[in-house]
């Protein structure tokens, strides 16, 4: 179980099961710090935390790392599997390495940062959260994203922004293709300010915010009657 060393609670995934680790994290006092060692791709670490604590995951985490979180700060020094920061409400999930599919899926708030690349469906179904990827993302990024911001420091795969609602996507590199109802819009000064602030908060220094490509919804699928003229 937990042992305290210089005010960081250390949990060992090689010893404890996921439930034990998550219970120990939930039991931490506000402002506490914890470290999970030997994560080795364990799924569902630091899920559902809802108080201000900082959790460092040593190594690689599996699916749903830091998902369903509120107010907590979760940092992974390796890579993660699918769905990091899924349904995040507030707080942040930061991944030093790469992230698998559906990173930041359905995040209502908070910030998901990936310093490497992220897989397909990054920021799918986004609902107000912000997702920042330093590298590239796979296909179907921001699929049906409703609100919030996705910032991509590298390239974006096929079908970016398909069926977007009111979320905004900024891409520094190339876009393989846009999805249905997504369109490129001119960058405004406000957009640049938003992107600069997000890049700063994420700790990215390689993005020129003034030359980003901005993708938003063409809003042609908002009314059902428009279906008659669409591909389906």
């Amino acid at each position: 179980m937990a042992c305290v060393s210089t005010d960081v609670v250390v949990l060992d995934a090689a010893v404890d099961d996921t439930r034990t680790i998550n219970r120990a994290l939930r039991a931490l006092p506000d402002g506490a710090r914890a470290r999970i060692e030997h994560a080795r791709g364990r799924h569902n670490l630091a899920v559902g935390l809802h108080h201000p604590v900082t959790v460092d995951v040593v190594g690689n985490a599996g699916y749903y790392c830091g998902a369903l979180g509120e107010r907590a700060t979760v940092r992974v020094d390796g890579s993660v599997g699918w769905c990091a920061g899924e349904n995040l409400m507030s707080g942040s999930v930061t991944v030093r390495g790469h992230a698998g599919q559906s990173t930041g899926a359905s995040a209502h708030g908070g910030l998901v940062v990936v310093h490497g690349d992220a897989g397909a469906r990054t920021a799918i179904s986004l609902k107000g959260g912000r997702v920042a990827v330093a590298g590239s993302i796979g296909h179907a990024g921001a699929f049906m994203a409703q609100a919030g911001v996705l910032l991509v420091g590298g390239d974006a795969g096929d079908g970016l922004g398909d069926s977007l609602y009111e979320a905004t996507v900024f891409v520094a590199g190339r876009i393989a293709s846009l999805g249905a109802d997504a369109r490129v819009e001119d960058l405004t000064d406000d957009d640049v300010a938003v992107a600069v602030a997000l890049a700063d908060e994420a700790g990215f220094d390689h993005i020129d915010a003034t030359s980003l490509t901005k993708v938003t919804s063409a809003r042609s699928l908002y009314r059902f009657d428009a279906l008659a003229a669409q591909r389906y």
Binding site: R42, N60, G62, H98, A120, H139
Partner: protein, 225 residues
């Protein structure tokens, strides 16, 4: 609906460790497919092992950790539409030595199966993955290379899939157009490993320096032993 695992050794010095390195990747896929397990092991020729029950039982029964070789592809199965039997276990073998493991489900396999059967192809199981395997065998027999044959699978097979295929000299992977089923590839020094979930690869020696990525949909990746 399953887990897949694969390991190709490119550095001849590491070949004796094939089984020892592959076993933990294979076993880590057990929760994705607890019904049955199977493995095709390439070295001097190819051996296929399959049985009902968890992967840990199979790896123990065949002492996988003590086995060397060039490549192994493995599968843990959560049966969807066909019975839990040894016949329904992956890998499926096409021709003499092409092995295939599949995670996902094909939505038009019955039609393709009928079409193949009409041309004289016979089947060992009612499994959707075997249909894909027989289709590959047809293409290879007609002279296509592995990458070409695998790349043409989406022309005939509909549905969701990650396919991992091996021959005595190569290993290859393909994901469906939507990239719905998972796959993680790690290209390390002297080896290439594949699994459905990252954690299965996390114990490989040198994994931190390896190039780790999720293959993009419809992109065929091949590696030579």
């Amino acid at each position: 609906m399953c887990g897949i695992a694969g390991l190709l050794i490119t550095d001849p010095d590491q070949r004796p460790q094939l089984g020892a390195l592959l076993a933990p990747i294979f076993e880590a896929m057990t929760p994705r497919g607890p019904d049955s397990a199977g493995l095709a092991l390439y070295g001097d020729g190819v051996e296929v092992h399959k049985q009902v029950g968890p992967a840990t039982k199979l790896t123990a029964d065949m002492a996988l950790a003590d086995r060397g070789g060039t490549c192994g592809i493995a599968h843990t199965r959560m049966a969807t539409e066909s019975a839990v039997t040894t016949e329904g276990c992956h890998p499926f073998m096409a021709g003499d030595d092409v092995g295939l493991v599949h995670n996902g489900s094909f939505s038009n396999y019955a039609t393709v199966r009928r079409d193949l059967a009409a041309t004289g192809v016979s089947f060992d199981s009612d499994n959707d993955s075997e249909v894909c395997c027989r289709l590959l065998a047809e293409q290879l027999a007609a002279g296509a290379g592995l990458a070409e044959a695998l790349g043409s699978v989406p022309d005939r097979m509909d549905g969701f899939y990650t396919l991992l295929v091996a021959t005595p000299s190569e290993m290859a992977i393909l994901r469906d157009p939507a990239g719905c089923k998972p796959a993680v590839v790690a290209e390390g020094s002297g080896w290439v490993a594949v699994a459905s979930e990252y954690h299965a690869l996390s114990e490989l020696p040198g994994i931190d320096e390896a190039h780790v990525f999720e293959p993009a949909p419809l992109e065929v990746h091949t590696w030579r032993a």
